[in-house]
Symmetry: C2
Subunit: 323 residues, 2 copies
């Protein structure tokens, strides 16, 4: 992947950051945000929708509150930089929020939140997404299923991590059902006429259902306030393929209590959950992020299997782009 991105005129250092993100998404069991995305990014770079040499600048610097202009660089890079700033300033000021405008699709939000952990910070990240949900009571798509992630330090090998979209299911699940020739449950999506549908193809042309109806719609709108409205970038219906925004926040736990005490308390919370009696057919009760960590650890040990068709698409992209 690094070779492919450098052939798109992205520097090797920047290409490595993007590739690391994509591999981690696959390792954590979220292939929809992993290596499979490369051809899309290649196409976006070649079509000029992604700037290979972005001049990523801190355009507002108030210490713990900053705005970064991503200059339409590849999202995993612009978001990485803004998130690093949120981590640095969070350590310095105890709490920081960095808004990023003129970014592009930046992958899995958990990636950013997790980066804060090793600094003793709680990490939090959100992005606005392409318009794919209808406000409660309406018939027109006006809000994205804007996701957010939060990661919390623990004494375990793994942090506690929540990463969720504000729709009932992520759009990728429709594609999975379609590729298997399966129908989807009622309640996941609507068709283009606004009627509930079990057809994944009709759903893709329609809209995703917000999780919990007005709750998911409300959350999506509030996340756009931080990522879109307050960043100075695009928001709401103004959001197209270009110019998404993000918001990265960090909280230094040690400003509230000694980090060791906090982690011990987190362990107590995790112990309670892990000791929960299970429903019939359920092996064990998980803490948010634990399933992803299990997959990560297993792939770290056994290697990451990537479908041949995806590897072939990487080879094809590399050949096409030349040396």
């Amino acid at each position: 992947m690094t070779r492919i991105f450098t052939r798109l005129d992205i520097s090797e250092a920047d290409a490595t950051i993007v590739a690391d993100h994509l591999v981690e998404a696959d390792m954590r069991g979220h292939p929809s945000h992993g290596v499979i995305r490369v051809p899309t990014y290649v196409e976006a770079c070649r079509a000029g929708r992604i700037n290979p040499h972005p001049n990523i600048q801190v355009v507002v610097d108030n210490g713990a509150q900053c705005v970064v202009d991503g200059d339409n660089g590849i999202g995993q890079l612009t978001a990485y930089r803004a998130n690093e700033l949120a981590i640095e300033r969070g350590k310095q000021y105890g709490m920081a929020g960095v808004a990023l405008k003129h970014s592009t699709h930046c992958g899995a939000m958990a990636y950013y939140a997790i980066r804060a952990i090793s600094h003793g910070l709680i990490g939090w990240a959100t992005t606005n997404a392409g318009i794919n949900m209808v406000p409660t009571g309406g018939t027109k798509k006006l809000v994205g299923n804007n996701p957010f992630a939060m990661a919390v330090p623990t004494n375990r090998e793994w942090p506690m991590v929540l990463d969720m979209a504000t729709s009932v299911v992520a759009g990728g699940k429709l594609d999975v059902a379609r590729s298997k020739g399966e129908s989807i449950p009622l309640g996941w999506a609507r068709d283009a006429d606004g009627n509930p549908t079990t057809d994944p193809l009709a759903a893709r042309a329609g809209s995703l259902e917000p999780v919990g109806g007005p709750k998911g719609y409300g959350m999506a709108l509030m996340l756009d306030v931080l990522a879109g409205v307050m960043s100075g970038g695009r928001f709401g219906a103004g959001l197209g393929a270009l110019g998404s925004g993000q918001f990265f926040m960090t909280i230094d736990v040690a400003r509230y209590m000694p980090i060791d005490e906090f982690k011990a308390r987190m362990d107590e919370l995790i112990d309670q959950i892990q000791a929960c009696p299970t429903a019939p057919g359920v092996n064990r009760v998980y803490v948010p992020g634990e399933i992803e960590w299990d997959q990560y650890a297993q792939r770290r040990r056994d290697g990451l299997a990537v479908e041949e068709s995806i590897l072939a698409s990487l080879d094809a992209a590399e050949r096409e782009l030349g040396a």
Copy 2:
């Protein structure tokens, strides 16, 4: 209400803060968090579960990060104080987070978030709640349907406000169904054996369903990390009738962009939503908090109707407590 609370040995100034909160909840159309609660608070005060003279102290002061000890005072008062500190420090530092421990049930979270608005701040508030949800895949209640609220300044008469529990529906809806002799839809709750139920009485003995399954469970746990684990108070299964925790956060919009520009952008977002074509039978599409504002404005104009039985319970409490 102020008279009743002062007869419980709460100072008049403190009693006024509590009464103001309860009336605002009724005005905004959330009677479950309003005047109806008074007899419960009276009982809790008389049983010694609420301390009428709390020594509310800032026990950790790192400027933008503070921990407040509520000394088991009545929740609307302890939370008010901690939230005022979050507002003051947010203006000073651009962003602040105040954790509150040894608090009690503190009412509607929107009340706190809304207080930040007039200072040009985004307000955010959460509390942990009594254990009433089962982690995904489990059979034992281990997490509360912890709610949160976020309020954002706009140019309208009203801020944009989201206030939601992390369950499919709030527990109060079960009581409403029961009092009307109605059944509840499948998917709202489970009975004590962990089976889905349509009986509101069985549901009250059982558990509430988290909104979006693992999403609601994950959010509830993360909110407890802020309100319970990081405040130094009770959390998870350790949370009983006493000692809930809260977390109040503020963000000074002007540190990101001029407040007028921000509000103009918010208005654009609101315009988009309000212009959304409506589904059959729907009058108009609302922005979060708009319905509550409509109710508030109408009651401001026409007066607030309180059920006679509630007024009678206030009279009874006052008589019982003597002069």
